[in-house]
């Protein structure tokens, strides 16, 4: 619980895709520009270029730090799919490092 009040960063783990609930919309609503958003499990599919057309993600990508778990993309046959330009692929080690670097994690489902 190290950083001072204002510089704290939160990690927002999103595990449901827009067709299964408003988790992504709520994460985007509650994340600031320094927070990290991690698309995982079913939500990973949304990181693929062809998906974001109709979801709020496309505009958010420019304003937020969005990441996606590579393992969850691969599990859905999307390992080779093109990602949105602003979307950072994470392997599990990088996921852990990010969770440790952020002061608090919140899971949206």
């Amino acid at each position: 619980m190290s950083s001072s009040h204002s510089e704290r960063r939160a990690l927002h783990l999103v595990v449901r895709a827009p067709w299964a609930g408003d988790a992504l919309a709520r994460a985007l609503l509650h994340a600031n520009a320094r927070d990290a958003i991690v698309l995982a499990q079913e939500a990973a599919a949304v990181a693929c270029a062809q998906h974001a057309a109709d979801t709020p993600l496309r505009d958010a990508l420019a304003a937020r730090r969005v990441h996606v778990l590579v393992a969850d993309l691969a599990a859905r046959g999307l390992g080779a799919a093109a990602l949105h330009a602003g979307c950072q692929p994470l392997d599990d080690a990088a996921w852990v490092a990010l969770a440790v670097a952020c002061d608090v994690s919140v899971t949206w489902y």
Binding site: L13, V15, A75, D92, A93, V96, A99, V100, V104, Y109
Partner: protein
């Protein structure tokens, strides 16, 4: 860092439970300490040991290895189990032991990070 995990979903409902295991393995590999993994709500469905067909991934074996190799405490909420009629003798014979939310709150007090898993 000292990390504790809270698992809120059943292995049957989605990828949340297996994501928790993946995170746990990666955290240990990176040299962090796993203070406790606590299974609450539908997460307690991880308790009954399942004889998984060969070609199915065996979550339970994964957790068992974690407990055996790294001594990570794996606890499931007794009240949540009882609420589901799963507080029976012979059910909690796998890697996940019976525990209480109090034990989880103790782990929280001793952890730098706490992550939750759901789906």
């Amino acid at each position: 860092m000292v990390i504790s995990l809270l698992v809120l979903c059943s292995p049957a409902s989605g990828q949340g439970a297996s994501s928790a295991l993946r995170f746990a393995v990666a955290a240990l590999a990176a040299g962090h300490t796993l203070r406790q993994v606590f299974f609450h709500a539908d997460g307690v469905l991880a308790v009954p040991p399942v004889d998984v067909p060969a070609d199915e991934p065996d979550l339970e074996a994964g957790w068992a290895a974690l407990a055996a190799v790294h001594g990570v405490p794996l606890l499931a909420c007794e009240t949540a189990l009882a609420r589901r009629g799963l507080d029976r003798p012979g059910l909690a014979t796998g890697a996940v032991r019976l525990g209480t939310l109090g034990q989880f709150m103790l782990a929280v007090a001793q952890s730098d990070r706490v992550l939750s898993f759901a789906d």
